[in-house]
Amino acid sequence: MHPVRKQRLLIVLAIVVLSSIAIGLLVFALRDNINLFYPPAKFSAGEVPHDVRLRAGGCVQPGSVVRDESSLEVNFQLVDPTGKLKVQYEGILPDLFAEGEAAVVNGVWRDDKVFYADQVLAKHDENYMPPEVAEAMNNGEMHQATCEGAEYDS
């Protein structure tokens, strides 16, 4: 390779490497802000501030969803392997919201340790299969990666 071209090749590589390092460090420094939500573990550990708007996300604990009979109010618990969070929400839930599925809620965590949500988003998983296969695989008890290993009983 011609020496001039070799030098230009080195310059091109230097641009890619140096800018990648710069942007990489920037993103690394901002990593906590890029997370969309706090997991229940952070709430249980007390690392989440009260009375500020934020998002929480986790698995909807099977059996925890309680719907109010006279209004749209619904209470449920988000869990992950080491934490849990009580959520209260009034409104229409997305179609894919279900027990044992992940959800992301947007709202405020008050001092009474209840998360008052004004938006609930369903997080669907990476598994795609026809209904027959889903039924054949097990008795409908499929949990996605975020829910795997979650202790539902304690």
């Binding site: 091109v12 942007i23 990489g24 890029i34 894919l96 938006q119 669907h124 598994n127």
Partner: protein, 253 residues
């Protein structure tokens, strides 16, 4: 001497004439693959157990996302080759890839938000992957716009190539974003190692759609680059002869 074949690749005329012969059979194959892939995915693949029919947008959304990422590398590599060897053709390819990249990234964002509404419950969320995908769109857009503000083509090409190279780090960030951060996006379904978490009856049409999109991307790139070649080489003899046979002696080469 060993590099001669490589320099021939850099000849716009060679590219124009070669691809002109390829298009005759490549375009019909691409259209056939797209039609088969979409029909299979949208009409014949089974419904999803949880998402029902709304998951079908994956056949349009996911391959578009793959190509907007792969296309970025193609654009940056073309820009790098142009910078190193000072060839004209790679810069034309880079410009074409930027314009097509805008289209594919916009398609990804639009179909993604149409998918997000019935499944997540929102058209847009500041999820890591969404944010970096939006940055990718702005990168493509700024490369297209930057190419138009310089009066000299050479300066424009150089600046665009440098910006393209600087943005490359965004591609792995988008790809790994779902693993690095808590996000609304699900982890990858198609895995290079281990078994995929998408049922074969849906995986095969999806893979076919990806192949069809790759062909469609290549076809768009060839067509746009040919157009770019004609525009930039308008004053050469061979283009003049192509446009109006018999006039090549009257135009200065």
């Amino acid at each position: 001497m060993a590099w001669q074949w490589f320099h021939r690749l850099g000849s716009p005329r060679w590219f124009y004439e070669k691809t002109g012969r390829w298009l005759v059979w490549f375009a019909p194959i691409t259209i056939a693959l797209l039609v088969i892939g979409f029909t299979w995915g949208l009409a014949f693949a089974p419904v999803d157990a949880k998402q029902g029919n709304s998951y079908r947008i994956i056949f349009i959304h996911m391959p578009a996302a793959v190509l907007s990422l792969a296309g970025y590398y193609l654009m940056a590599i073309a820009g790098g080759i142009g910078l190193i060897w000072k060839m004209k053709l790679p810069f034309m390819v880079m410009k074409s890839a930027a314009v097509i990249g805008v289209a594919f990234t916009a398609l990804t964002l639009i179909t993604g938000s149409l998918w997000g509404y019935p499944t997540w419950g929102t058209f847009w969320e500041w999820d890591a992957r969404n944010i970096f995908m939006l940055i990718l769109l702005f990168l493509y857009l700024s490369i297209v716009l930057l190419g138009q503000v310089y009066p000299e083509q050479e300066a424009a090409d150089k600046v665009c190539a440098i910006l393209a190279l600087v943005g490359t780090v965004n591609v792995p960030i988008i790809y790994k974003s779902v693993d690095w951060w808590y996000s609304l996006h699900q982890p990858a379904s198609i895995k290079f190692t281990g078994s995929s978490s998408i049922h074969p009856s849906m995986l095969y049409p999806l893979l076919l759609c990806i192949v069809a999109y790759y062909c469609f991307y290549t076809l768009s790139l060839i067509l746009y680059t040919r157009q770019e070649i004609l525009a930039r080489e308008a004053r050469t003899k061979w283009v003049a002869a192509l446009v109006e046979p018999g006039t090549e002696n009257r135009v200065k080469g």
